[in-house]
């Protein structure tokens, strides 16, 4: 008997049936049931740390937890897409600041993560942890993630060269002192070719990470606590002018050393002497530039004015539980187990140099251990002292856009400065910031969901008043 459509379609059909059956069988035999909790992290070092801790949790709770690691950018976009498409998502995720903002575009009920505010308050964690750290995981007064860290920022410097140059670190109290010393003693053309071979700071002209860090330290920010856009404030203008002066023109004190190997080469060569180093980065230095062991040291950031903050912050991780999680209580237990585990704080610090936001943990002996890399300084103690001063940052749905737009003005302002100097710079920067802020407000005002939420909120308020 012949197949009516000929030999070729017959064999295509046979092949389709065989492969289809094989796929179904393979799926049946290989697909394991979903564990009780699926937890995704982006930081490799967190992954390693949790791998050691989770078996104990599984044993005590008689559950199965699956831990996965994905790079932070795809984690954010995939999670966002999965939440949008209402497809399967993990039960718990660690999110990097400021990407949380992308999930807060609509009404609070649509955030996609469990509102942890009541749980956090019930455990008194809002008091036991550094208060300012909740700001980056909050929207409209509700907290959606448990903070993993504080990430206070300090300056790491080449102690050996600074001592050689006869610079007294204790005299670098304010940024004005710092710039003065940089001009007098640090920025130098050592080989006479007309190009400086030594700079004070590593700072990119486009301001990535460092501009917001300095702005926060100075008391400025992109959004206020109520979510209002404040990118065009007077503090931002002042900060921008200062940053432009230090990164552009012949009097600049900084060099954009980039990252990875070129950065460490610049650091090792003594091309740059000071770097912005939050706690997590201090460990990265130890691992990526081991040749500088004993030659480095840490100091608090110089202040903007006497009595001002000696630190700022850069980065941050938070643990969120998705709304789709079927066992939210178990997820919360795991979150507390991982984030409030005192033994883990010591191990974590030894492995990552990261200070926990839980204040009562700072007295642990692990934080008092001298660090040979940083010339015997007690790194944990130094960061713990700075941690309570860490300024709050308010991250909304449009944070990335605002950061990008602000740094566009920084670049345009820098180009203006290189052409015309200080004349008209302030007015130029101010006007550019105003225009960019106007653009962002226009984008924010397009968001129909936030507008609806505002109307609902105002109706509730009116109802309450009546």
């Amino acid at each position: 008997m012949e197949f009516p459509y000929g030999k070729a379609p017959f064999w295509i059909l046979v092949l389709a049936i065989i492969t289809g059956t094989a796929m179904m069988l393979t799926r049946k035999f290989t697909s394991a049931p979903r564990p009780d909790l699926v937890f995704i992290v982006f930081a490799p070092r967190h992954y390693e740390a949790y791998q050691k801790l989770i078996p104990e949790f599984e044993r005590t709770h008689n559950v199965k937890v699956q831990l996965q690691q994905i790079h932070q950018r795809p984690l954010q976009t995939r999670l966002q897409s999965a939440l949008l498409a209402n497809t399967e998502v993990p039960d718990m995720v660690e999110i990097m600041n400021p990407f949380m903002g992308a999930f807060m575009k609509g009404p609070l009920k649509d955030v996609g993560f469990v509102d942890l505010t009541d749980r956090i308050k019930a455990e008194n964690l809002d008091k036991r942890m550094v208060e300012s750290r909740f700001s980056i995981w909050s929207s409209r007064g509700r907290i959606f993630a448990l903070p993993h860290d504080v990430h206070p920022a300090a300056l790491a410097y080449r102690r050996d060269i600074i001592e050689e140059l006869g610079i007294d670190i204790s005299k670098l109290e304010t940024w004005d002192d710092f710039v003065k010393v940089a001009h007098e003693k640090i920025v130098k053309d050592l080989d006479g070719d007309g190009v400086p071979d030594r700079y004070a700071l590593d700072m990119p002209i486009e301001g990535t990470s460092f501009f917001p860090l300095l702005l926060l330290q100075r008391g400025g920010r992109y959004f206020d606590a109520q979510g209002n856009l404040t990118m065009d404030s007077e503090v931002t203008v002042e900060m921008m002018i200062w940053y432009i002066h230090q990164t552009r023109g012949k009097d600049r004190i900084s060099f954009p050393a980039g990252e990875g190997q070129p950065f460490y080469k610049a650091l090792s060569d003594g091309l740059i002497l000071f770097n912005f180093v939050p706690d997590w980065r201090s460990k990265v230095f130890e691992q990526d530039a081991p040749n500088l062991k004993g030659k480095m040291a840490l100091m608090p950031l110089p202040v903007w004015e006497k009595g001002g903050k000696r630190t700022s912050t850069w980065g941050g991780t938070g643990l969120a539980i998705t709304e789709q999680c079927k066992n939210k209580e178990l997820a919360w237990e795991l979150a507390k187990y991982l984030y409030l585990n005192k033994q883990d704080f010591s191990d974590r610090f030894a492995m990552l140099n990261i200070i926990p936001p839980l204040k009562e943990a700072w007295n642990l002996p692990a934080f008092q251990v001298p660090n040979e890399y940083y010339s015997g300084q007690k790194v944990g103690q130094l960061y713990a002292e700075l941690a309570p001063e860490t300024p709050p940052d308010y991250v909304g749905a449009y944070y990335e856009m605002v950061d990008g737009k602000t740094r566009e003005v920084l670049i345009d302002g820098g180009i203006y400065y290189e052409k015309y100097g200080d004349k008209g710079l302030r007015e130029y920067v101010k006007e550019k910031l105003r225009l960019k802020a106007e653009h962002v407000r226009r984008v924010m005002n397009r968001n129909v969901f936030l507008r609806q939420q505002e109307v609902e909120d105002s109706n509730i308020t009116r109802g309450a008043v009546r």
């Binding site: 459509y5 897409s81 498409a85 609509g106 190009v195 566009e408 670049i411």
Partner: protein, 299 residues
């Protein structure tokens, strides 16, 4: 009776063959296409929140300075693709076409090989080559021209686009060269010989014999390069480490679409950008084909 049954069976057969294609097209092309049109008139926030906003997404995109910047960057890149990359590809193809058979294969492989690695890989490698002071490209420029050691190729808004064009040049010249080489090898040798006997010089042979003969290939390459340029995304994305460069100097139309849809989470605006891009590509490609056809008629 049997005859009627057979006739119906024969009549049905082509539809049976077409059925899988039509089904797949409906599921993977038609349905998403219609969904994308509907989506472009909506604002979304999660699976449950969709709001009809009419033409607001289109109006916003067309008046957004960032979109204008993305279009201008894309057009500049496309112009360089056509007027710098393609002549270089053609030149290399002509050189290889005249080379001896033994060396031809070797050089063809060497020049084509950058295309064997992915755009992401090329982007990552070039991001290291362009580092100020220590980057190989900066060192090379310094040795060659006594200029460029401290250039911030990826940090200076006026240098970002040239950096992307240089990277793309390295990657795609060899790829387009292969098309031109195939075209050149199919040119009738007797026509070239006849032209030479008639006293034509090298330029005249190229202009009057070779170029008309490879015109269909050239049109294809120009259209494909233009479409490729308008769809540029991975290379600048990897080169600029997932950002769009200072002052959006590395922002292209697809990057803008990506940032709207997946960073801002506004799928509706992303869909609107997609449709605007589709219309732009269609218009430009049709114009190019038309111009090329008109030239043919004129000859």
């Amino acid at each position: 009776m049997k005859n009627a049954k057979y006739k119906a069976y024969v009549k049905r057969t082509p539809y049976m063959f077409l059925a899988p294609y039509i089904c797949l097209t409906c599921i993977f092309f038609l349905y998403p296409l219609i969904s994308a049109v509907i989506l472009s008139f909506q604002q979304t926030n999660g699976p449950k929140s969709r709001a009809f906003v009419g033409l607001s997404n289109y109006a916003f995109v067309l008046t957004d300075p960032d979109f204008r910047k993305a279009v201008s960057n894309t057009v500049i890149y496309a112009i360089f693709s056509i007027f710098l990359q393609l002549p270089l590809s053609l030149g290399l193809a002509m050189l290889l076409n005249t080379a001896k058979d033994k060396t031809k294969g070797f050089f063809r492989l060497i020049i084509f090989s950058p295309n064997l690695v992915g755009q992401i890989f090329v982007g990552v490698i070039f991001s290291v080559l362009f580092v100020p002071r220590y980057g190989l490209f900066n060192r090379f420029m310094q040795d060659l021209l006594r200029w460029g050691l401290e250039n911030r190729w990826l940090g200076n808004p006026s240098l970002v686009l040239p950096a992307i064009i240089i990277t793309a040049l390295w990657m795609y010249v060899g790829f387009n060269m292969i098309y031109f080489l195939a075209g050149l090898q199919s040119v009738d040798k007797s026509l070239i010989e006849a032209a030479r006997i008639d006293g034509a010089n090298a330029w005249q042979v190229f202009w009057n014999v070779t170029l008309p003969a490879i015109k269909p290939v050239a049109t294809f390459v120009v259209v494909m390069s233009t479409i490729g340029s308008f769809q540029l995304f991975e290379l600048p994305f990897a080169l600029l480490k997932g950002e769009f460069g200072p002052s959006s100097s590395g922002l292209f139309i697809v990057s803008y679409l990506y940032s709207m849809a997946f960073r801002a989470g506004d799928l509706g605006t992303g869909a609107a950008v997609g449709w605007i891009l589709t219309l732009m590509i269609m218009a430009i490609s049709l114009a190019q084909i038309k111009i090329s056809g008109t030239m043919k008629e004129g000859q």
